[in-house]
Amino acid sequence: MPSDALLRVDGLSTSYGPVEVMHNVSLEIQEGELVAIVGANGAGKTTLLRTISGLHRCHSGKISFAGSDITNSAAHTIVRSGICHVPEGRQVFAPLSVDDNLRLGAYTLRKDSEWVESEMARIYELFPILKEKWQLESGNLSGGQQQMLAIGRALLGHPKLLLLDEPSMGLAPLLVEEIFRIVQELNSKGVTILLVEQNARMALAVADRGYVLETGQIITSAPANELLNDEAVRKAYLGY
């Protein structure tokens, strides 16, 4: 294992109450990579992301990011080190406007108003629909628009690593393609991405590497195209 990995998760185990739901999970992400974690509903994908971003505590294991140990740090401090998390189900601040939601994404960087303004302009360029609706309550946006808002909001945190939890969930097929196109575009612009998806086919199609998570354990890890062609993975997660 090269030691210069951007994110390194080592032997991570977490529990909900007395029940251990993740067992000895290890993974790493190099800078600039797009890594996908695929697995069935309930495999522990969301828990893994929530543990990395500090929303959930782990009872053993180690998470290091950009060389420093962030295991069990408070979520609001982990953001400052450069991990931005787009949570499952989008979680926009429904009664607040689109613009306010985005600006809250830059909460930790709000002192640098010049950067915030230029980044806001960039996000509005990336998602023209958000610019059109900037004054609207974000709760009134469609699911796809809310997903774009959630991604834009995370980008305003100036991520070194973007965690994406089920960005395609509940979206129409056309929108799913649009979202994955955006994910790919972001990655090609240099954002390192850890993508968690039930839609394994789409996720592996855009990813560099993939991990398969099953009942809280990593069972395989390989370059994404190998996983796409792996018979066991195809049967279990791709359905053909």
């Binding site: 949570p87 601040f93 607040l96």
Partner: protein
């Protein structure tokens, strides 16, 4: 008759302004943490009592300094309340937190009783007691202090929540705690800020109105109830609703006392509250939630 009505309106606006501040305090805490803080009236009482105490005697502080000191003290009480009574019960049901805040209010009243005794206390008017005449109606300079001070604080609160990132960050915590955390917002700290702000509003209300209405260790009970009613009347959770509810409740009470009977003024206020709730359970300006999943 017109002069008389005018007089009732002046009195009503003054009481209403105080109700509005108390209601606003309820709303801020409710919005930030889903807690109905029944110790809100005690903030009012403590603001007034400690100001009187600090300004008393020959070596007493001048009123502005005493007021500023006691506001800071009450803010500390608000923060301690959050930190040691509310925060440990995170995730508890609404009823549990209500019982906690009622307990806190009884405790604070007890402390006030021990420190300041049972007597009704008076505070000097800020700028004299020479009445100002409007037709045959009169108002005291203190009435203007109450209304002006309330207006300033309402505008300040509005500005804070609508035009500053700190204010919006507090709202974000109430809308979605986890997501707020993921934005780098220190949710625990924001809760302390909300309670502190609420305590500040309460203390200011107490200091402004006490020259007119006097105070005592248990003055917070009725003010808390009235402020809570005002918040419900306007629509719980809506800050401007709280202000409108407070002013309306004050006006209704004053008119009821003047035109019908002062003995019934509280009853009439609460009857109107019940009627509004029967017809519009979400309050006058309450919003129906329309979250899209």
């Amino acid at each position: 008759m017109f002069d008389q009505i005018l007089q009732f309106l002046i009195t009503g606006m003054t009481t209403g302004a105080i109700y509005a501040l108390v209601a606003l305090g309820f709303t801020i805490i409710y919005n930030a943490s889903d807690v109905v803080n029944f110790a809100q009236g005690e903030f009012v009482m403590m603001g007034a009592m400690s100001t009187i105490f600090l300004a008393a005697g020959d070596n007493g502080l001048p009123i502005p300094l005493a007021a500023a000191t006691s506001v800071v003290l009450v803010i500390c009480v608000g923060i301690l309340l959050q930190r040691f009574a509310i925060a440990p019960a995170r995730g508890a049901s609404v009823v549990t937190t209500i019982i906690i805040t009622i307990g806190a209010s009884i405790f604070l009243r007890g402390v006030a009783l021990v420190i300041w005794g049972k007597d009704i206390q008076a505070m000097a008017h800020f700028s004299g007691e020479i009445p100002i005449h409007i037709g045959n109606a009169t108002l005291l300079p203190q009435n203007l202090w109450v209304m002006g001070g309330t207006a300033l604080m309402v505008l300040g609160v509005h500005y804070f929540f609508h035009h500053t990132m700190q204010g919006k960050a507090i709202l974000a915590c109430s809308y979605n705690r986890d997501a707020a955390n993921l934005m780098g917002i220190n949710v625990g700290l924001m809760m302390l800020v909300a309670y502190g702000l609420s305590a500040l509003l309460g203390a200011m209300a107490g200091i402004l109105v006490t020259p007119i209405s006097f105070t005592s260790y248990d003055a917070g009970v009725m003010l808390g109830l009235k402020g809570f009613s005002a918040a419900i009347l306007g629509g719980m959770g809506n800050p401007m609703g709280a202000v409108v509810g407070g002013l309306l409740l004050g006006l209704i009470e004053s008119l009821a006392a003047g035109l019908i009977s002062s003995g019934y003024k509280d009853a009439i206020g609460f009857i109107i509250l019940l009627l509004v709730l029967f017809i519009r359970p979400s309050g006058l300006m309450g919003r129906r939630s329309s979250d899209r999943v």
